[in-house]
Point group: C2
Chain length 354, copies 2
C-alpha cells in the first residue's frame, strides 16, 4: 500500500481501534521501524503485536512528536484534546479517530471515498467520523451521488466492541455466566449485554430525546455530505455481537429510481460490496463483515406502498448493511485518510509516498 | 382469572408457545382437570409440566375434540390445517396461534385490547396474529386511537425463540462453542446465530424483496386495524436474544401531537408499560420484557427535523419497544382471546365464566 511510508505514530495502541490500526499497517507492509506505538504511562514499556513481531509502547504523555510525520490518534476524546495540539505544534499531521474535533468547523471530517477531496487542501488535522456514521455514509454515498437523498431513517445493531475491548470482555464474561445459569453483574454497560439488546449506552438529551450516538449520526453525516438540511432519524441500539455493526436503513431519494438502479450504483463503489441474494437467503451479517474492508449492503428493495412513477420507479427504498466498525468504521478509515493525505502533501512529511 | 373455566385443549403442548400457554393457564388457577394437552404421536403418553403438577399428553391426531369447549391451537401451520377443521366440526371453538387462517377474510384476526369487539359476534374460529405484529399494534394502538396513524417504519430485533425451542437450543449450543473457540455449524437457521444478527429466516419474495415475516407485519396490522391503505415498512432481523422481541419504530401520525401527548396516550393503556427514563438510561430491553404481560415502550421522541406546528407539535415520532413474543406475542394473546370469547359466548360452551 505504502511503498515508502511516513513515520507514523499510533496513539491509543492498546485499545481496540489502535490495535486494528497496527494490524492494518502491518498488513500493508509498513516496516516496523516506521511505526511508533503510544499509550498511557501504565502500558509504556510493554509490547504490542505488529505483524509477526512487536512494538514497544511509548508513553503518550511524553511522545517525541517532532520525530513523526503523521499521528494516528486512536485514544479516547479526553486524551485527544491533550495530545493532538502537542503533535500539531511539533509539526506532525494528525488524523484523529476520536470525537474531539469532529464538530470543529475548521477541521475537515472525512470519509475518503465520500469527501476525500477535502484532503486536497492538505489540512494538518483531520477528524475521522463515528463508526456508525462512516458505515452509513459509505453505503449511501453511491446512491446519493446518483439520485440525491432527502431523508434517512436508520436503526443500528451495534457490536459491544464499539465500547472498546472492555465491552467485548464483558459480553464474553456475562454470556458464559448466563449459559451457566449465573446472574453476573454488568460493569462496562449499565444493562446486561448477554442475550440482550439495549438503547445505546451514551447519555440521552432530555430535550431532544436523542442519545449522543444518534446526535453524532445526524451532525456528522450532514457535515460529511455538506448537507445541513439533511433529515436523519437514527435509533442506536447495542446488540450482543462481538464485532461489526449492522444498520436497517430507509432512504427517501431526491429523484425516483428502480431497485436495479440502486444496485448498479452500489455495485460500482469500491467501498461497498452488494450481498443480496434472495434465492439463497445470503445477506449482510456482522460475522460476514468482520475483517472486511468494504461495507456489505443487501435487502435492497422499494418501501412497500410508496408512490411510484409511470416507469415503476420509487423515491423510497429500504436496505440492510453490515460493516466492521473497528476497521472501515474506525482504524481503516483513519488510515485511508492518512494514506491519501500523505499522497497529497508530501511536502509536509519527510518521505516520498506512492 | 377464570373462576370456572371451560374445558380447554392445548394443541402443540410441547412447543415453546404451547408450554407458555400451559404456564399461563396454571398461573390463572385453571384446574388441571379442565385442561388437556395434545402434541404429535411421538410425544403422546409423556408428561408436560402444569403448575406444580403435570399433564399427560394426548395424540393430537386422535383428540376427542367433542369433549372440549375451546381449543388453543399452538402447533405449526401445517398441523393447524388438519386439526382446526376437526375441532370445529366437533363443536369446539378454536383460537389458532398459527398463520393458517390469519389471511382468511372470514376469520377474525384479534388482539383483544385493539379489536376485541370482533369477539362480540362470538366467532367459532379466531386467529391470533404473528408475534411481531401483536407487539407493534399493541404498542401503537393507543397512539392510533388518539392521533391516527398514516405510516409505520419498523425494524425488528427478534429473539431466536421465535423459531421455537430449537432456535433457543441452537443459540445456546453455538454460543458456548464460539466462547470455546469452536466453529460449530448451524442447523435451525441458515446463518450462525451466536454473536450475530441476520435477516429473518423466512423466504424472501424476489418481486417485492420482502420476507414472509415482513409480509405478515404489513398484512396483519392492516387487517387488525381494518386499515387496508396503511403504509407499513418493516425490516425483520434476528438477534442473539433468547426471548422477547424488540422493535425500533418510526410512526407518522394523522394529526400532530406532542411527546407528552403520546406518553399520556400510552400510559393509559393496560397492555403497555412506559419505561422511558433518560435520567437513569432505563428503557425497554428484551430481558426486562421477558415474562411481562405488557409491551414495554420507551425512547419516545419526535423525529429530528420533522416539521412542527405553531404549538411545537409534530406528526412524526420514534419509539423503541420490547415485548415477550411467547407471552403477549403468542400464548397470552391467544388466551386473552379465549377468555374474552368465553365471556361473550357462554352459550357455546358448557360452563359459566367470570
Amino acid at each position: 500500500m505504502w511503498s515508502e511510508a511516513p513515520r507514523i505514530g499510533v496513539v491509543g495502541a492498546t485499545g481496540a481501534v489502535g490495535r486494528e490500526a497496527l494490524a492494518i499497517l502491518a498488513e500493508w507492509g509498513v516496516p516496523a521501524d516506521r511505526v511508533s506505538a503510544f499509550a498511557s504511562a501504565r502500558s509504556a514499556g510493554t509490547l504490542v503485536p505488529y505483524g509477526t513481531g512487536a512494538l514497544r509502547i511509548g508513553d503518550g504523555a511524553h511522545g517525541a512528536w517532532h520525530e513523526l510525520d503523521l499521528v494516528l490518534q486512536c485514544a479516547p476524546t479526553a486524551i485527544a484534546r491533550t495530545i493532538v495540539p502537542r503533535a500539531l505544534d511539533a509539526g506532525a499531521a494528525v488524523v484523529d479517530a476520536s470525537s474531539a474535533y469532529r464538530d470543529d468547523p475548521d477541521v475537515p471530517l472525512v470519509v475518503p471515498g465520500v469527501n476525500g477531496h477535502l484532503l486536497d487542501a492538505a489540512p494538518r488535522l483531520i477528524a475521522s467520523p463515528n463508526c456508525s456514521t462512516i458505515l452509513l455514509v459509505t453505503a449511501l454515498d453511491p446512491i446519493r451521488r446518483a439520485f440525491g437523498i432527502a431523508s434517512i431513517t436508520v436503526s443500528t445493531y451495534q457490536a459491544v466492541s464499539g465500547a472498546g475491548a472492555k465491552g467485548l470482555e464483558e459480553l464474553r464474561r456475562l454470556t458464559r455466566a448466563a449459559l451457566d445459569g449465573i446472574d453476573a453483574a454488568p460493569a462496562a454497560f449499565a444493562e446486561p449485554c448477554a442475550f440482550n439488546c439495549f438503547s445505546h449506552n451514551s447519555p440521552v438529551d432530555p430535550t431532544t430525546g436523542l442519545n449522543v450516538e444518534e446526535r453524532k449520526m445526524i451532525d456528522e453525516s450532514r457535515k460529511i455530505w455538506d448537507a445541513p438540511g439533511l433529515r436523519v432519524n437514527p435509533t442506536c441500539i447495542r446488540v450482543p455481537v462481538e464485532r461489526a455493526h449492522s444498520e436497517s436503513v430507509t432512504v427517501v431519494l431526491s429523484r425516483a429510481a428502480s431497485t436495479a438502479d440502486l444496485r448498479t450504483a452500489l455495485s460500482g463503489a469500491s467501498s461497498v460490496c452488494v450481498v443480496d441474494d434472495p434465492a439463497t437467503g445470503r445477506f449482510p451479517t456482522p460475522r460476514r463483515a468482520t475483517g472486511a474492508d468494504a461495507v456489505l449492503v443487501g435487502r435492497i428493495r422499494p418501501v412497500p406502498g410508496a408512490p411510484t412513477d409511470s416507469a415503476g420507479r420509487s423515491r423510497e427504498f429500504a436496505l440492510w448493511l453490515s460493516g466492521d466498525q473497528l476497521r472501515k468504521g474506525a482504524a481503516l478509515n483513519a488510515l485511508q485518510i492518512a494514506h491519501r493525505l500523505s499522497a497529497r502533501c508530501a511536502v509536509h512529511v519527510s518521505h516520498r509516498f506512492p
